[in-house]
Symmetry: none
Subunit: 203 residues, 4 copies
DNA sequence: TATGAATGAGATTTCATTCAT
DNA sequence: AATGAATGAAATCTCATTCAT
């Protein structure tokens, strides 16, 4: 794409933001180019001036997400069964929630099977795989041999993603803080036991 | 719809099955009525004899799923931090995986925001809520006061659903048995500690 | 068509009556074979056992109407500018109203331009022409040379038909007796002056 | 619908005109959207850009007709039993014939029971009612107490409409001028007597 | 004689994309 | 750089008619 002046960059941005918002509301397939241009106060002609089709706009959004997710994954430090480790974990999960709030629709759509077939959908899978791999490294450092670290990491990612999704789309009524607390707790517990205590059976 | 004779019931069944299959392959939105009738060896006219549109066929499928999920949820016994309890848990998760294999596309689509707006989408949310509620009961029996049992249950459902989804759509390479093992382990660990270490008993 | 047993004749009659009723409600084109068979408590198969298509059922109805209209037209005696002549006219118009109540939809549809093109539509025109011709004869006996008797007759038929139509479909609120009275008065007046009096201008 | 530029307004107009023409030729129900766009040299897509379906185009036409009929009704002066009054009446009837030539199909369809049920059909009835009401006023000024002026007015409207209809659809062979002459004569005669003889003045 | 099921041609409608200004 | 209008391929949906029992 040719170089853009300030006005052009601004229009492009407006379209991207509108896209993100409509995708979030209606999902990828139900989104009409018309919805996007209306929200961006632009015209069809303008849309095709910046993107050659709907998928390309989506791809552009997806690249933004990918880079942010990458950064986020890199900031996860070693997992530790100490109070400090626990609160670090919580803080990190909170950051994930922030990210999801902005880009959830794209993340979700990207990993949807409906686009999952196309060569482009692969990128979505990679996004997930990449993100999981980073967690994997941390999980592997602490997990017992009994569980396969890779799958554990994936399960945790799955939980993170879905719970945020339910919360975001308000399919279930969850308080955001309670959600983050619980995600931290469950993650922590599944790695270290709920407080690192020794086993004991219930009477 | 009027009562159906044997032939009619059979045709309707064929359409439902074809629908489930195509939804699983292409996703809800990318599915064309044409795909369904071709797979069912029926004509367009026949389709509209039984369902007034794609959504109605989907709804019918969804009702089937709902009832099966209900049954499944009811079979989950008390969670126990014993070897028996653990293998019961694993068996139950395996059943969930079976169900997901057949009906995953419907479950997933149903809980997707894309249909989630319509009055009908509510049913999907209810499905999830219901299912989670059953788990909630079991989780509440064993969880510590620190974690909100409802959210824990939801997190577990989220993990169950997503991991099965990743596996089914082959977005990540997981061995089915490894997946089930790990789901059991993570669930068990998050409730009782990673090696059977139970959380502090409730006051 | 083959000879019919009692049951067959009965079924055929049920279909004809249902047809007349649905045509009256929805008009010819908007009438579905399905509407007819439902009302007649019969099946599609049965319909095509008796009529080869919708038009043929209509044609059968139309033939019934035609013969009744013919009979009615024949009963119109000479028009006379006497009280007796006037009440005879009124009685005749009342009979027309009766006929229209039963068969109005068919009459109307038949003369609709929408079917008017087909070779069959010609019959409808003929119906009208025939009926008008009978009136023509009577009008010609009494009308002045100034007016073309044929057109006067047609105008009267037009008025008869339309007013009954408006009344029947309740498009305007008219009392049946008032309608018949007025039709008689207007017809009488347009032929003889309102009471046969000599001209006088209003002050 | 958004504001239209010159080109848009032009296209919309072309579609309306084409619609009026096809409706006139084939009638409302037999008219296909395809017929309209072909005649207007436009595409299906374009049609749905301006009207959401056939009915809406019809409604737009109907509104035009309504306003023209309104105007026409307003131009009818007092009815007078003088040579001048008579020729004024004739001139007015001629204008009605002009209007009917252009919009007859719409008028007819609109007052047909086939669309008469819907909330929109009400407008058609109102059209008729309104138009009749205007005539009513004039008729009431001159009619005898014996006839209900309202019904007389309606009968006249009925005659006007139907006779024009027969003429337009060529269901009967009438010369246009003869038709107008006769309509004037019959109307005049039914109000003032066949040769200018006025009915008894009102008490 | 009666029927419920099936058909498919033809209609309507949508919407991503292109065009002319 | 921006736009409103136009397009047409592809989808949905309808319904008169036929078929098998």
């Amino acid at each position: 794409m040719r170089e853009l002046r300030a006005r052009g960059r601004n229009t492009r941005r407006k379209l991207l933001d509108a896209g993100a918002q409509v995708f979030a509301t209606k999902g990828y397939h139900a989104t009409r180019v018309d919805d996007i241009v209306k929200l961006a106060h632009a015209s069809h002609g303008t849309f095709y001036l910046y993107f050659s089709n709907k998928e390309e706009l989506f791809r552009a959004l997806a690249e933004e997400v990918a880079s942010e997710m990458h950064e986020l994954a890199a900031t996860l430090g070693p997992l530790r069964s100490t109070p400090d480790g626990r609160s670090e974990l919580r803080a990190w999960i909170e950051q994930f929630a922030d990210l999801y709030e902005r880009y959830g629709a794209v993340i979700r759509t990207w990993t949807e099977a409906e686009i999952g077939r196309s060569e482009f959908g692969k990128l979505g899978t990679d996004l997930l795989t990449q993100f999981t791999r980073e967690l994997h490294r941390r999980v592997a450092e602490v997990t017992t041999s009994e569980m396969e670290a890779g799958v554990v990491a994936l399960a945790l990612v799955a939980m993170l993603e879905r719970l945020n999704y339910y919360a975001l789309t308000q399919q279930v009524r969850i308080d955001r803080d309670a959600m983050i607390d619980t995600l931290a707790s469950v993650t922590y517990a599944s790695l270290f036991g709920s407080d690192g205590c020794a086993p004991s059976t219930r009477s």
